[in-house]
């Protein structure tokens, strides 16, 4: 729940005097927890601007930070679908993403299929993968880690086979413009990602479906006894995760003009890092889409700055891994304090 809604609802309920003071103090305390990462982000920008005055404080830097993270935005939102309903370890998201992103150029370049039908095939394939995983986990009660880890390895293998283990490129540049057209200095797919995040945040914040998803994530038994169709929601989450991965994959392939199937698995850790980082942003102790988006750009800023300082590519692994552990620790502590 966001501040805005809380404030709106507060006004309608009369409270006992004396209580409001305590709750305001509580609000202040959680305020610092909400925005701690954002303060760190601002501090990073200041530090980098002073240490790298020649390179960091330029529009180009911000275009890189905000214009290059779309694959991660789609993947984190896909992961968020299942995480919100209480499935914490969908490891298949990057592989499904890569699967869709490989199908599209393979069909278009190697088999002369039109770009639109090929995009549709890629997305449908990703949805089907989500459906199969959902059925295995929800209906047959197979362990989520096993299903998604197995599926992810399998799909990566299939993607490599389809692409002959090489980069397939040559998608028409007219198609590429659906992702790369410049809008206000940033590629248009930045806005797709932003819209997706905003829609997801709205869904969780204000719709009955979102409330049901949150409760299924909090307690399946409570939800079941409150008339929530738990299995349907969990299955829907896996299918939606497939859909978002597929969409993201197609947009990424369009932006790149092709795809290299070997790159997919490098997204796994960043995806988890950003989603878990969201539990320390905006809504402490809870996975949330806006926090995830901010987390992605926070991570991107940190890494870009370090690379500009001359550090090599390994620094991104150190940074993502370290942040994941730190963020989860912080959010665990926050959660413990609140319960």
């Amino acid at each position: 729940m966001t501040d805005a809604e809380q404030d709106a609802n507060h006004a309608t309920v009369t409270r006992a005097p004396g209580h409001s003071r305590r709750s305001r103090a509580f609000g202040r305390q959680s305020l610092s927890a909400r925005f701690a990462i954002l303060v760190v982000w601002a501090a990073l920008i200041v530090v980098y601007s002073f240490t790298e005055p020649a390179l960091f404080p330029h529009t180009g830097t911000y275009q890189t930070i905000f214009g290059s993270q779309q694959p991660l935005v789609f993947m984190t939102m896909a992961l968020m679908c299942t995480i919100v309903v209480g499935e914490f370890v969908d490891l298949s998201v990057p592989a499904v993403f890569g699967f869709a992103a490989t199908i599209l150029p393979v069909l278009v370049v190697n088999h002369n299929v039109g770009v639109w039908p090929a995009s549709l095939v890629a997305i449908v394939a990703a949805v089907l993968v989500g459906l199969v995983q959902g059925l295995l986990v929800v209906k047959l009660n197979v362990n989520t880690i096993v299903v998604t880890l197995g599926m992810s390895t399998l799909l990566e293998g299939v993607s490599l086979w389809m692409s002959n283990e090489s980069t397939i490129s040559g998608l028409p540049s007219s198609f590429g413009s659906i992702a790369t057209r410049d809008v206000g200095g940033l590629p248009v797919d930045f806005y797709y990602g932003l819209a997706l995040v905003l829609i997801f945040a709205y869904l969780l914040w204000a719709t009955p479906l979102g409330r049901h998803m949150r409760f299924v994530g909090a307690s399946r038994e409570v939800s079941r006894l409150s008339g929530v169709r738990v299995d349907r929601i969990r299955l829907g989450a896996f299918v939606s995760a497939g859909l978002l991965s597929g969409l993201g994959g197609v947009i990424a392939a369009a932006a790149l003009g092709g795809y290299d199937a070997t790159t997919a698995d490098s997204f796994l850790l960043p995806t988890f890092a950003a989603v878990f980082l969201s539990t320390a942003i905006l809504e402490p102790g809870r996975f949330n889409p806006l926090g995830t988006l901010l987390g992605i750009y926070f991570l991107a800023t940190g890494i870009l700055g370090l690379q500009l300082l001359g550090l090599q590519a390994w620094v991104s692994q150190v940074f993502y891994g370290g942040i994941l552990v730190i963020a989860v620790t912080i959010s665990t502590l926050l959660r413990r304090r609140s319960s």
């Binding site: 729940m1 309920v13 409270r15 209580h19 719709t207 409760f215 409570v222 929530v228 609140s338 319960s339």
Partner: protein, 537 residues
């Protein structure tokens, strides 16, 4: 190492010097946040005594056990001593073990997949060589065989525990508990160990326990089965609301009914029976319900009528309530609920159908207030308002916008009706006290203005004030024409609320009580059924 030289239990069960108590607990309290869950607990167990500990859910039994085993740190000021030597607090598990205190958990706490000797020695493995650090299997097996011989049972130490009979499993658990005891010493805490045992297995289990007690071991038996407490223990201690009500009453002086009275207390003197609100119109009916031990149960409920279901554990009263509330799938049966929209023509719900949610029940106007409020009733991490409105979020909200207005109104109405504190709709439910959580749970269902309200232990583990508010709210619902079914072992609740009470035993209604009900009458009917085995000891 044979059992006998310790001989008879310590002679002086009446003597009162600390030296002679196997376990002495004095002034132990425990506070969680602002909630005092244990208050000044005192308890003494003599050597060679079988001591029972009883109380309702939430009375503090498990907290006390967790203090004795070192899971929780008690508040400063208490003392725990074994054989006159006081233990450091918090209790250090190894120190307690050295003093001879061991615990047998629910369902015996055995790992089915491992062998007898591995189970018995778990946590005590000795290594064979300084270099290899490998477990000395030969020595371990020998030690276990010795312990089993001490118990007088013959079990191959290499068998997998999962393959053993219930009786032998019990022996393994007891062997694990007594292996470190000095001859004639030691204390075993049985924490609901017999919950999953059948009657026969239980009988043999207590035979074994008795033989251990005869060697001088003391037992603290924690159990919900009052029958077995009355049958096997020497003395009993009763906890209620975190306090000792009575300690060390000789069991021969009490029966199950008496224990129940002590467990429940008489804290409802302020509550008098209200007038019945039953009207002459049917509101719900149960036809041919078969669930658990219940085979063919029918019930007709009038508008505004409150019917109580009670009985000992396993009698079927609870299963009926759960099936009618949509929480448990029955074998067969039909629930009829008057449809107010259609002038009272009943809506039919098949209770034997497999469902993935209780949606159909809720749509028909059935509300189920579950017993375990944080597992089945409320999501602890969500707010009061979110929990309260969950069952109606889809039907009252638009799919694109849940709508804040009705949620705020509903929540505010229930907060003031039930006096939920703090009166903050955005409080996280997990941070509320038990009584207030129970109120939120009740409000969650009352806000839907149900036609049929099914409650399971609605006042369990709540304070006196919350209990008062809850009882009033249930009465108010009945006055508004809601049919109410309450499944409870709390005779005091049933007596002040119900128009009639159905007493279950072995799946059948054995007594129906009506008119001016009293707590004693209900307790007598529940436990006093003649012909029950085991009264003699």
């Amino acid at each position: 190492m044979a059992a006998s030289q310790a001989g008879a239990p310590f002679p002086g069960q009446s003597a009162d010097t600390a030296q002679q108590h196997r376990l002495a607990v004095a002034g132990v309290s425990k506070t969680f946040g602002s909630a005092r869950v244990l208050r000044d607990i005192g308890l003494r167990i003599a050597p060679g005594e079988l001591h029972g500990l009883v109380g309702q859910n939430g009375c503090g039994k498990s907290t006390l056990v967790k203090i004795l085993t070192g899971v929780y740190t008690p508040d400063p000021g208490g003392a725990i001593s074994v054989d006159g030597r006081s233990l450091s607090l918090p209790v250090r598990p190894l120190e307690a073990r050295a003093a001879g205190v061991s615990i047998v958990h629910q369902n015996l706490g055995l790992v089915d997949d491992r062998s007898v000797w591995e189970n018995v020695r778990l946590g005590r493995y000795k290594t064979a060589g300084r270099l290899t650090r490998r477990i000395d299997g030969k020595a371990e097996r020998r030690a276990v065989a010795e312990v089993l011989a001490r118990l007088g049972v013959t079990i191959d130490v290499n068998t997998r525990v999962g393959e053993l009979s219930a009786e032998d499993r019990a022996a393994v658990a007891v062997a694990r508990a007594i292996q470190d005891h000095k001859p004639g010493g030691g204390l075993i805490i049985f924490d609901e160990s017999t919950r999953a045992m059948g009657k026969q297995a239980r009988l043999r289990f207590f035979g074994l326990v008795q033989s251990v007690v005869d060697t001088g071991v003391s037992i603290l038996l924690i159990s919900h089965q009052l029958e077995e407490v009355v049958e096997v223990t020497d003395r009993v201690t009763v906890l209620r609301d975190g306090q000792v009500v009575e300690t060390g009453i000789p069991t021969k002086d009490v029966d199950e009914a008496g224990l129940t009275r002590l467990m429940l207390g008489r804290h409802l003197v302020t509550h008098t029976r209200g007038d019945s609100h039953a009207q002459d119109k049917p509101v719900a009916g149960i036809r041919g319900l078969a669930v658990r031990s219940v085979c063919d149960f029918d019930l007709d409920l009038k508008k505004g009528e409150i019917v109580g279901l009670t009985g000992i554990v396993g009698s079927g009263a609870v299963a009926v309530a759960q099936a009618v509330g949509g929480a448990r799938q029955a074998r067969r049966g039909v629930l009829l609920v008057a449809d107010n929209a259609k002038d009272g023509t009943p809506r039919e719900i098949r209770l034997g159908k497999k469902r993935d949610s209780s949606e159909e029940f809720i749509k028909a106007g059935v509300a189920f207030v579950a017993e375990r409020r944080l597992e089945q009733g409320l999501a602890a991490e969500m707010t009061v308002s979110q929990n309260l409105t969950l069952p109606r979020i889809r039907s009252r909200g638009h799919w694109l916008r849940a709508g804040g207005g009705w949620q705020a109104a509903e929540t505010a109405a229930m907060i003031s009706k039930l006096d939920i504190r703090p009166p903050d709709p955005h409080q996280i439910v997990g941070t509320l006290s038990g009584g207030n959580q129970q109120k939120v749970l009740l409000g969650k269902w009352l806000a839907g203005e149900p036609t049929l309200l099914v409650l399971h232990e609605p006042t369990q583990a709540v304070d006196v004030g919350a209990r008062h508010d809850i009882i009033n709210a249930i009465r108010e619902a009945a006055r508004d024409g809601c049919g109410v079914i309450i499944s409870s072992v709390d005779a005091a609740d049933l007596a002040v609320l119900c128009d009639r009470v159905l007493v279950f035993s072995d799946g059948k209604v054995v007594t129906e009580l009506g008119g001016e009900l009293t707590q004693d009458e209900i307790i007598e009917a529940t436990f006093g059924t003649p012909g029950e085995a085991g009264r003699a000891r």
